[in-house]
């Protein structure tokens, strides 16, 4: 019992660490491509962010199961890149079909973002980090969810700032991606301030 309690506690700590001190976007630059292109509007940012949280949590858990129950016993660890990609693509496809079938309204708001997610480096990155850091199953749940929420937080903040930016005059060469990167840098700087909160 004590073992499980400790695991759950570790999961909570890992979850918060993934959101604040090791934010997947601001400390490892993963998921930059959709980040610079979709963060123009708050509404789109929320849609994509929520989809990422959902997909990331489930695919990380599924990949954990596939890695430790299938690949490790078969000694096929090097095969993980291909397996993870296939699982992520299949899962996204499956969710798309389910959402389309049972909730057309949700499909309209979330559906266009789902295909984008398959190629989101942050999703594959989370799974690969999960393997390298040797997280246990319960910790993996917390880690996958936390990484997703961290990404959502970052893209939401960015979208909010960029909407305000429409009225300001940015030097010509910096417009678009340039200024987005500078803002991301400032946000990353702010997040560095969280270091030491969790250790």
């Amino acid at each position: 019992m004590n073992g499980i309690g400790q695991d759950v506690w570790m999961a909570v700590v890992t979850c918060f660490a993934a959101i604040f001190t090791q934010n997947i976007l601001l400390t490892t630059f993963l998921g930059m491509c959709p980040f610079t292109s979709v963060s123009r509007e708050v509404k789109a940012a929320i849609g994509l962010g929520v989809a990422v949280v959902f997909v990331m949590t489930f695919t990380t858990v599924l990949n954990w199961l596939a890695y430790y129950w299938v690949l490790v016993p078969l000694k096929l660890e090097f095969f993980r890149f291909i397996l993870f990609i296939i699982i992520i693509a299949a899962f996204v496809q499956f969710v798309e079909m389910v959402v389309d079938r049972y909730s057309p309204k949700l499909y309209q708001t979330l559906g266009i973002f789902l295909p984008l997610i398959t190629v989101n480096c942050a999703i594959l990155g989370t799974s690969l980090f999960m393997v390298i850091r040797e997280h246990s199953f319960i910790v993996t749940i917390g880690y996958g969810f936390g990484s997703g929420v961290g990404w959502l937080l970052a893209i939401l903040a960015m979208a909010g700032i960029r909407q305000r930016l429409n009225e300001s005059r940015v030097p010509e060469g910096l417009r678009g991606p340039g200024i987005t990167l500078i803002i991301a840098g400032l946000m990353a700087l702010a997040f560095v301030g969280f270091t030491g909160v969790l250790s």
Binding site: F29, F81, V119, V131
Partner: protein, 204 residues
């Protein structure tokens, strides 16, 4: 649909440079640009993977059904990434540990996929390899520039060698440069410089 080799090279290196023209593929590599050596290894891996994937996609282009081509391309890319990863693990385990998951993340790097889809899928193998190579090189030179700036300003060294003045106490080390925010700032500055130069060229 035929481009002169010279145009392919110039497009990849400068005119259509994957980073500052198309803002593609910064995800998987920016994280390792705090040290020049790691960046160099990453850049070589990425260029090799892009070249080989372009070659394979181009060779198979007549036998790949249109509707599943994405899946085929992903598998081809993943195949080469696994080879690179295994080679690194076997011959340079220390570097493999430093790079962590980032070698694997070349699979989702938009540049590799982008070149396969945009060029290799509809061109013969020769130009496809050239295109893949020069896009990889165009990408590498910007990343190496970022890495050199970050390591020099942050630690006063390049490739681990101490640089006069920057390694002495006269230079206050900008620790922030080797931390993640530094990566964002340096990339944004380089983007700014390159785009401004590009805009002037267009005006001429």
């Amino acid at each position: 649909m035929s481009k002169a080799p010279r145009d392919i090279m110039l497009d990849g290196l400068w005119r259509d440079n994957p980073i500052f023209r198309q803002i593609l593929g910064i995800c998987s590599t920016l994280a390792v640009t705090n040290v020049v050596l790691n960046t160099a290894v990453m850049c070589v891996s990425l260029t090799v993977v892009t070249m080989m994937s372009c070659l394979t996609v181009s060779l198979l282009r007549d036998w790949t059904p249109r509707n599943i081509r994405m899946m085929v391309q992903t598998l081809i890319i993943a195949f080469y990434v696994i080879i690179v990863d295994l080679i690194l693990k076997a011959y340079w385990p220390e570097m493999s540990r430093n790079l962590g998951p980032f070698v694997g993340l070349i699979i989702t790097n938009c540049i590799v996929m982008g070149r396969c889809e945009a060029f290799a899928g509809s061109n013969p193998p020769g130009p496809a390899v050239l295109d893949g190579m020069f896009n990889g090189l165009g990408y590498s030179f910007i990343l190496l520039a970022i890495a050199v700036l970050r390591e020099l300003l942050g630690m006063g060294t390049i490739l681990g060698f101490e640089i006069p003045y920057f390694a002495t106490p006269y230079w206050d080390k900008w620790i922030i440069m080797v931390m993640p925010p530094g990566g964002f700032f340096v990339l944004a500055s380089i983007l700014w410089v390159c785009r401004s130069i590009g805009a002037k060229e267009v005006k001429k």
